[in-house]
Amino acid sequence: MNIPDQLKYAESHEWTALAEDVATIGISDHAQTELTDIVYVEVPETGRQVSAGDPVAVVESVKAASDIYAPISGEIVEVNEAVQNDPALVNTDPYGEGWLFKIKAEDASQLDALMDAGAYQAHIS
């Protein structure tokens, strides 16, 4: 299972990468493996203000729709158009082309509440 060291992880299986004050968010390799064939991705509208823990996106497999939660608070500043056209990118490249949305962090210290790779590994073991 691929769990990159430089990312932070939520219990609900989203990963977060912070660059300056903008966080990129996607779902973990573990999550995409469990979901299998992702057939639809619904991303939030840019400009929307979200709070940590809000359901902001939906990833759907053949069988189920799963809410994706904002790991931190802030404004949605960008969404991945490519995954809407090709949802399988979430399966094939969950940490790369399969990213979902970006949040301009209100308070970057919120990332401290997320798990590091080691803790996330333990969480899913």
């Binding site: 219990e11 609900s12 639809y40 619904e42 990833v59 759907e60 053949v62 069988k63 729709a65 073991s125």
Partner: protein
């Protein structure tokens, strides 16, 4: 790696799982089939379904679905129920409690039929086989075994010499489905093995290892195939044989998408006690002129007066999220909600969203434009001819 969701769901495909991507809830009250360990070894994601811990998928629903359409897959159907009915007048008695006419069945033949309440609503749908002149086998839905058996026992009160046996726990079952199912059986049975029975027929055979098997040439996928019921203790032996003969293991997820493409109803979703088989489009399996049976009066009235609603096939016409059970069905252009989906999902064969709903008669015509509510947004859909595939 956590064992994937043992989340409590009554039905596969209940829609949004608000618990996050991977639920860790465990349910200790569910029963296991004799194949449970095999499923876990094969990497299955196990879920609670109808009181049983069942595999929902092994590799992926999409690939398992296509395997059954193109080659052959094997499903664990050990959760399904087997009820025997015997007695000198059992045929006449059963004809009074089920909708189809079983007087036409020769020994070895079977048919799809329904068990109704007094209001004509569906208690269960099942396959019945005439295994002997005065003996029938009823293969019923897992969630309904106790309900069906009790209902049959109540119906048998006062009937002469009817013997009912619920042997569901004695049998394990495999459904082997797909265009290569006949070849699979030839390999499984070995050189001295008997040929499969013809479509909708049943055969009792003694296998090379001495197992007494029941082979039924039926299924729930729309492909050729058979269901094999064996002693529960031999389940692993026959499961492994099926895999060695080229079957891929398939879970309830693919079973659901396969049956939905064929518009086969799922009891508890598309069928329930509030809807009659005529409304469900199953009139072919209801023989109103065979004589009295439970629920007949209401069905005869419906037939005479016409139906107010019908179970219809609905296809999404615009790119969008897959439709799912309980999503609202709306009349177009602000016409308001007219129904909710009883089943729905992405069709792996057609790569588009499909579903079924009981639509009021004004909206049931093929070509009627509709809208489906997905999380508050409406997506274009239309009524299409059954089946989808």
């Amino acid at each position: 790696m956590i064992p994937y969701d043992t989340r409590k769901i009554d039905k596969i495909g209940c829609g949004v799982d608000s618990g996050g991507i991977v639920s860790e809830e465990k349910n200790s009250e569910v029963k296991q089939t004799p194949l449970a360990a095999r499923h876990v070894e094969l990497g299955a994601r196990m879920v609670a379904f109808a009181g049983w811990e069942m595999p929902i998928q092994y590799s992926s629903i999409m690939s398992e679905h296509l395997t059954v359409r193109e080659k052959a897959g094997v499903f664990d159907i050990s959760h399904m129920g087997q009820i025997w009915a015997k007695g000198a007048k059992v045929a006449e008695w059963l004809n009074g409690v089920l909708t189809n006419d079983l007087s036409v069945l020769a020994v070895g033949e079977g048919q799809y039929t329904l068990m109704l309440n007094e209001k004509g609503g569906v208690i269960d749908d099942l396959i019945i086989y005439r295994s002997g002149e005065t003996e029938f086998l009823l293969v019923v839905n897992a969630s309904m075994i106790e309900v069906d058996f009790e209902w049959l026992e109540n119906q048998a009160v006062g009937a002469d010499g009817i013997e009912l046996d619920n042997e569901s726990d004695d049998y394990a079952g495999l459904a082997i489905q797909g265009p290569k199912a006949v070849e699979v059986w030839a390999t499984m049975a070995g050189e001295s093995g008997k040929a499969l029975p013809q479509r909708n027929q049943i055969a009792r055979v003694i296998a090379e290892n001495g197992d007494a098997l029941i082979l039924c040439r039926t299924g729930y996928t729309g492909e050729d195939g058979f269901e094999l019921f064996c002693p529960a203790a031999s389940a692993v032996f026959w499961w492994d044989k099926a895999l060695e003969a080229g079957c891929e293991p398939c879970g309830l997820g693919a079973r659901d998408t396969l049956r939905l493409e064929k518009c086969y109803p799922l009891n508890g979703s598309d069928l329930d006690e509030e809807h009659t088989p005529l409304e469900a489009g199953l009139g072919y399996f209801v023989k109103l002129d065979k004589g009295e049976f439970v629920g007949r009066e209401i069905l005869a009235q419906q037939k005479e007066n016409g139906l107010d609603r019908r179970l219809c096939a609905i296809r999404m016409t615009a790119k969008g999220p897959p439709p799912r059970p309980h999503y609202g069905v709306f009349a177009p252009e602000g016409g308001g909600q007219i129904a909710e989906l009883s089943s729905g999902g992405l069709s792996p064969s057609l790569k588009e969203g499909i579903g079924m709903a009981y639509l009021p008669k004004d909206y049931g015509k093929v070509g009627t434009k509709l809208e489906i509510d997905v999380r508050g947004r409406l997506y274009a859909a239309e009524v299409v001819k059954k089946p989808f595939y």
